[in-house]
Symmetry: C2
Subunit: 202 residues, 2 copies
Amino acid sequence: MKQESKRGRPRKFDETETLNRIMQVFWKNGYAATSLDQIASETGLNRPSLYAAFGSKKEMYLASIDQFADEMHSYLREAGAKTTGANSRLKAIMAAAIELYTGKTALSSAPYGCLAISTLPAEAAQDPDFQSALEAMIARMDKGFASLIRHETNDEFSEIELLEKAQHLALILHGISIRARAGATSQTLKDLAFSAVDKIVP
Amino acid sequence: MKQESKRGRPRKFDETETLNRIMQVFWKNGYAATSLDQIASETGLNRPSLYAAFGSKKEMYLASIDQFADEMHSYLREAGAKTTGANSRLKAIMAAAIELYTGKTALSSAPYGCLAISTLPAEAAQDPDFQSALEAMIARMDKGFASLIRHETNDEFSEIELLEKAQHLALILHGISIRARAGATSQTLKDLAFSAVDKIVP
DNA sequence: ATATTTTTATGCGAATTGGTATAAAATGAA
DNA sequence: TTCATTTTATACCAATTCGCATAAAAATAT
């Protein structure tokens, strides 16, 4: 938001670390139920400092979503790189996502599901910016799954079939996020995810 | 909430119809972003009357969820009764749910997805009552799908397989609700749903 | 040192929030 | 008509909301 400047009082907070704290608050409470006072208290900053660094509440939230998407993307990419073969890699990615959704990773502190899937839909019908953010998030996941299948299976599937499989995987993952938010155990969710992967990309 | 009484000033509103209006407001805005003033304005009642009839905002919301679940249940049951065979009935139910999610039915006024899936997750991590409501909603869908498959396929699948298929169908449907909320067209969603049904219960 | 620039801290302020107290209105019972 | 009962309407309450105006603090540049 602001490049480092030579003069002036130095900041006493790290921007991305603070944004991660902000993200946690939205992750737990959702957008509408989160107040700037909660964010201030959770980050240790006061409202004017927050506003100067991240803009309005809405901008903070959208920035949190972006950072979440980026961190989740690289986390899943890493998890999917540990094996070979479409089926095995997809299972590794599903397992990693479920660990994330159930609060068993450094990025996630509690079983809150996916930040975007858990909190964006409630706001999407009210504000087109939120609807666009949700749509972008979904498209990004579709593309991620599609690209993995495309690279891992050589012309075995048509581009149409491939995109359909990717969307089915994303649908399953979003359903899993909701169940994680509802309190399902990670083992239950992994069983569901693995059997779904076996059906979609055997 | 209140049985009809002989004496006293008569009510000038119908309880279930008013609750349907309340439901629409929560459906669009989610729980936290909905104010009692909006509900009052949308129903034509004032806050004290609303409070007397339906209790607190939270009670209004949970009553909306219950009524939605009941209305959706009977609507889908009816849609699924028009054909025979597991595959065909499941497709009919999926198609009907998608019509509902994309605002093409009497019950739904706009493409807001499923009331529960769109709005409950945002609140579920803060309030155990909301988490329980979400969990109950998911369980109800799982059971609905399971019972249909059980009755339509005679011992073709074990109870374990059957429950797994039901959960896969529910996962898909929840993912579809999110995509409806994100603006996907009903045709896109039906294509996805039908191909998924073909994979799960051919 | 003095001035300049940037961040922090205090605190305000107009608006909105969920909920309710109180009184007026509308009905049936006596 | 008079009374009891229930719903409606007005208005208020204390608390919270987001955002910002203003001033103090902390650094560098001159």
